[in-house]
């Protein structure tokens, strides 16, 4: 068996993991499954594309790529900007839609509304950018031999590093700062958090911003490694939820590890039983884990 599945699995797993962190945080803090989360991934990718396009145009044409990578500095600047923008999109969606439903309707209504939001956001992308695939860069990258039959492009390597840095910073935020402690407190008991002096509305806003920004990072990864199209996020939705549930709802390290397991399982499935079975293998794994450990790998609730 070829070890190449490790690189492929890590990459897919990183993308799924970044998205799943947002899903798991929204689920544990706001207590509903946001099916529009995939759209944050697509919107993040398009926001990056659009912003880097404007920057490139303002600089008067093509910006040279950095070193061995396929992208130039405009993409990096655009990425930071788009992450903030996607955070604001998530916040805006909460402001116009979910906030009211949280107050006045039950969880099922909010879940259905998120389906509607998902369709609306996706259609908007198709309307503005058409449904044909596009790319950040058409530059071809030559994969480097890393030994043991493993090959990876410079883009792929830097993206795995970027995921590690993002996840580490979120983990530190949750465990070493007052914001993180407050987020965990709200996830354990929102009413108690309120009377304990935590500004729950602000924690909810922060949760949306983080979830949106990480989804945008995942979208940029998909854009760099595969292609950008309006359905890119929606197609990732089931793996996102599989990863969040596998890792244990509410656990950030769990979401990432769940993502990596799903990603690696898919990559192994492509090599062994064929690409058409990749999703089936991932879900088979999910079912097995949930039968053995219903709260997920890192879940705390029994």
């Amino acid at each position: 068996m070829n070890l190449q599945f490790l690189v492929d699995g890590l990459l897919t797993g990183s993308i799924i993991g970044l998205g799943a962190i947002g899903v798991t945080l929204t689920y544990s803090i706001l207590r509903f499954s946001n099916f529009a989360h995939g759209e944050f991934i697509s919107w993040g990718a398009y926001a990056t594309l659009f912003t880097s396009g404007i920057l490139g145009w303002a600089m008067g044409g093509a910006v040279p790529a950095i070193g061995p990578f396929s992208f130039g500095w405009t993409l990096l600047v655009a990425a930071v900007f788009a992450m903030a923008l996607t955070g604001l999109l998530a916040l805006g969606l909460d402001y116009v839609l979910f906030r009211h439903l949280r107050r006045r309707a039950n969880a099922i209504t909010a879940v259905m509304a998120s389906f509607g939001a998902s369709m609306a956001l996706r259609s908007l992308l198709e309307f503005f950018f058409t449904s044909s695939p596009t790319y950040f860069s058409k530059k071809l990258q030559i994969a480097k031999q890393l030994g043991l039959g493993i090959r990876a492009t410079p883009d792929q390597m830097v993206l795995i590093g970027l995921t590690a840095a993002l996840v580490l910073s979120i983990h530190l935020l949750l465990t070493r700062t007052q914001t993180g402690r407050s987020m965990r407190a709200v996830s354990e008991n929102p009413d108690l958090a309120r009377v304990a002096g935590i500004d729950v509305a602000r924690i909810v806003n922060i949760t949306w911003m983080i979830g949106g920004a990480l989804a945008c990072a995942a979208g940029i990864m998909v854009g760099l490694l595969v292609q950008i199209r309006p359905y890119m996020g929606f197609d990732l939705l089931l793996p996102l939820f599989a990863a969040a549930i596998l890792g244990g709802i509410g656990s950030v390290p769990g979401a990432l590890i769940g993502g990596l397991i799903v990603g690696l399982a898919e990559a192994v499935a492509v090599q062994t039983v064929g690409a058409e079975w990749r999703a089936a293998i991932a879900f088979l794994l999910l079912i097995v884990v949930l039968i053995v450990r219903p709260s997920g790998l890192f879940g705390v609730r029994s």
Binding site: S169, L173, R176, T177, Q178, T179, R181, S182, R184, A185, E188, N189, L192, A193, R194, V195, A196, G197, I198, D199, I206, M209, I210, V300
Partner: protein, 273 residues
């Protein structure tokens, strides 16, 4: 108040009437057609330990919730340090210096004791999202301060040996001590205690009383709801009595215990003291 003979027991002090730390002015709370609190006014001076008593259903807990910000009154005003807060949420009142505990304390069960206490800290840079990335040095420094202070407070409430345990391992009385430590984390000027003695074993109750006296000696004001009249008499210089949503009377613990209206409100409940 005027009967200064023998030294008052424990931490009891003279009543001060200068600028009140906490005041309610004609507060009303209606639930449907029923007024659970019906035009109550009270005022608590700096450094006092004041009691709020009354038979079940008198509206004490509703009054408490109105003062602490768990609900907003139908009418009337609540003032903390002279600032009107009746429309402000609980977290705003905490930043103004009000802390409260609950009759049945609820810690965050899966977080450690020290984390539970650290949550009580207010106005940290690390509370907002951006400083965590743009000035990590300052956030880390504050985090260290918060941790040290939380550990010192756990020591103060005699729970240091459990600091790393999840809060779900604690007994009822220990949870009250933990909650007190969390409230103290915000350096409150007044603390509202909801039945601190209820369900606490006697030896732990002595620790709680002792800690209240000690905190009060450092200048913190207390308002205590309590059924344990012995505790009220030992701690409070002044007592408000509520019955059927109204303020029935007020005075020293001895005076209200002897008041025939109070005895009648407790349905001739016999001996209060």
């Amino acid at each position: 108040m005027h009967e200064t003979g023998a030294a008052p027991p424990d931490g009891r002090r003279e009543r001060t009437q200068e600028r009140p730390v906490l005041a309610a002015d004609n507060v009303v709370q209606r639930f449907g057609g029923i007024a659970a609190v019906d035009g109550v006014s009270l005022s608590i001076g700096r450094g006092e330990i004041v009691g709020l008593i009354g038979p079940n259903g008198a509206g004490k807990t509703t009054m408490f919730n109105l003062l602490a910000g768990a609900m907003s009154p139908t009418a009337g005003r609540v003032l903390i340090g002279g600032e009107a807060v009746e429309a402000s949420p609980a977290h705003r009142r905490i930043t103004l210096g009000l802390g409260r505990t609950f009759q049945i304390p609820k810690p965050f069960p899966n977080m450690s004791l020290v984390e539970n206490v650290m949550l009580g800290r207010q106005n940290q840079a690390g509370e907002r999202i951006l400083p965590n990335w743009i000035m990590p040095g300052r956030v880390a420094r504050e985090e260290k301060e918060t941790y040290d202070k939380a550990m010192a407070l756990l020591d103060f409430v005699t729970l240091t040996h459990l600091a790393r345990q999840p809060a779900k391992v604690l007994s009822g009385g220990q949870r009250k001590l933990l909650e007190l430590a969390r409230v103290l984390m915000a350096d409150p000027s007044i603390i509202l205690l909801d039945e601190p003695a209820a369900g606490v074993n006697p030896s732990l109750l002595e620790v709680i009383i002792d800690r209240i006296v000690e905190i009060n000696r450092r200048g913190t004001t207390f308002l205590i709801i309590e059924h344990n009249m012995d505790m009220i008499a030992r701690l409070c210089s002044h007592v408000f009595v509520m019955a059927t949503g109204k303020l029935l009377c007020e005075g020293t613990p001895e005076a209200v215990a002897a008041d025939p209206r109070v005895i009648e409100a407790y349905l001739g409940g016999g001996h209060l003291l």
